[in-house]
Symmetry: C2
Subunit: 340 residues, 2 copies
């Protein structure tokens, strides 16, 4: 069997099953966004990695080196934010085609350092090698106080599901980059392309959510709401309902969907690369959390559904009609939409 | 200017110079084998990464997936050993061509886990993506007690230079793999190919050297003795003399050199990928160190030169004639031998 047939998540599950289970110091291991490790201090160590590979995750003609550097760091910071953590140190593993200009690397590091600094993280090392295509593989460390850690596994039946910001913008931006439509709106183009190319990880929002200690589970939306909600449900042993009409979708994303001939709801549910936070909170604790986040960061937090029993599965309600929510998302390994 | 013109070390120096210097918690940052970070505990955190990229670092027809997994982890453990540290946790970032068999990945992880376990390290996570060629990028964490840390920068004039094991075997093994010589010796082939494909990091030896607290500087030999000695000399502000006749070169390496038409001394000085330890020790403390290492590990430790004043440069003495030792080594980025 080829890896393209088993897909990314199938392969990760297989690897996890075959390896010796780690000791009790490993709080979260293979299969989560980041590893969580107990240390001597009162903070867990967080370790994560995420790669940007040319022609798989980006095309050089669409993204400046500064933007690429920012993006490569941002998607890793998003993984640390998803656990309620604070980024600390990062290593940069670069694969470089020989014809790349030194000036390109200068700008790449400029973007990486700016994004790292914004979250308080420091570049401390890495590795450089030759490669047929440009590769930026970032290894990010972070920390989180024991009682502020939020994993995927604590969602309880009755909790409401919330997301920061708005959904579908990452995928809408990608569609605009790929589209050759004659009719364009420069404002929308700029807004959504920026959202796609240089997502802003929700680190300040995550800090507030973590400190309130009311969120029961959290994940960042990298694969798409449907897919990432599936991770929370499986880890927590629960089901969920998403209320389609409640999903925050910006006017720009709706217009881009029309321009590129697709359904904005599809972008919001399955699009991926939004890097918003999806988390669960008991109903009575939702309002103070929403107020705290918007007051301190200006970011809206929207209730988009609720956690139900695992026997009810994962559904989306559109105009009071329930349909199973397929955990679709783009599977880079299988090179197809994931359906499971 | 292209990155192939500036080369790997030139680019690393440039990146280091352009980035904001890290704070005082970063004991060793960009440019060393591993980053050393102060934490709340009495141990420094070590973080390093090293990649194995198909067609750059290995060819799939020459190495089994199990060997490749072992090798990918081993070269990272060698970097932690070079600081006197203990490996703890690792993340595996994989780039996979779609046609790779799942069974290949099983065996790859088998090799990685076995090598990790041998040093007490645990695989705690990673990332998988599609890639045109097979890529294994390992991110390894480790730890070292404050007073056991050995960096590149403490070598003192008058110290003797020592290496573990023997030199040139990694390069000799590579030459045998590449060679199509009719005349072969199966024993030599097997011994040197194994040395090249699955180097054994000198972790037990490093632990003894670190605990004795007599080594003033240390590095692992990945780029070649000449190149890696250059790193110690630059970091310590000293010069060095290597005594060519003292270099430990095995009979197998000498025979392989003859078979493939090259000078064994060249392999020992410039070959690289030996993953032995090169370190400096005050003369009066050499004998007890050699005895301790061989008694506990069976590994020989050989005096190969001495540290001199920086004004004397870096030289090799062959039959009492001194020549400048060029810091040559294979520069993956420049795709040529490095000469500086």
């Amino acid at each position: 069997m080829r890896v393209s047939e088993i897909g990314e998540f199938g392969l990760i599950e297989r690897i996890k099953r075959r390896l010796t289970p780690p000791g009790s110091d490993v709080i979260e291991g293979i299969g989560d966004d980041a590893a969580i490790i107990r240390t001597d201090s009162d903070e867990y160590l967080i370790a994560t990695c995420d790669i940007q590979m040319e022609e798989v995750h980006f095309r050089r003609k669409f993204i400046t080196p500064d933007q690429l550097g920012q993006r490569a760091v941002a998607v890793n910071i998003s993984d640390v934010a998803a656990m309620g953590g604070i980024p600390t140190y990062l290593l940069v593993s670069l694969g470089l085609p020989a014809e790349i200009e030194v000036n390109y690397i200068d700008q790449l590091y400029c973007g990486m350092e700016r994004e790292a600094k914004r979250s308080g993280a420091v570049i401390v090392g890495g590795n450089i090698t030759r490669s047929p295509q440009l590769i930026i593989d970032i290894f990010l460390l972070g920390k989180v106080k024991h009682d502020l850690l939020i994993t995927r596994s604590g969602a309880q039946q009755g909790d409401l599901l919330l997301v920061t910001g708005d959904l579908g913008k990452g995928a809408a931006g990608l569609r605009l980059l790929d589209s050759e439509a004659a009719e364009r709106d420069e404002m929308i183009d700029a807004q959504l392309r920026t959202a796609h190319l240089t997502p802003i990880p929700r680190l300040p929002e995550s800090r507030i959510i973590a400190k309130l200690q009311t969120a029961t589970a959290m994940i960042d939306l990298s694969d798409g709401l449907a897919s990432d909600l599936g991770h929370i449900c499986r880890a927590s042993g629960v089901g969920a309902v998403i209320w389609a009409e409640s999903l925050p979708i910006s006017t720009a994303t709706r217009k881009a969907a029309i321009l590129t001939g697709c359904d904005p709801l599809h972008l919001a549910l399955y699009g991926g690369e939004d890097y918003e936070l999806l988390f669960s909170v008991p109903p009575e604790l939702v309002a103070p959390l929403q107020q705290a986040v918007i007051a301190e960061t200006g970011t809206s937090v929207t209730v988009v559904g609720k956690i139900v029993s695992s026997t009810e599965g994962i559904k989306v309600a559109i105009a009071n009609k329930f349909s199973p929510l397929l955990a679709r998302g783009w599977d880079h390994l299988a090179q197809r939409e994931r359906k499971n």
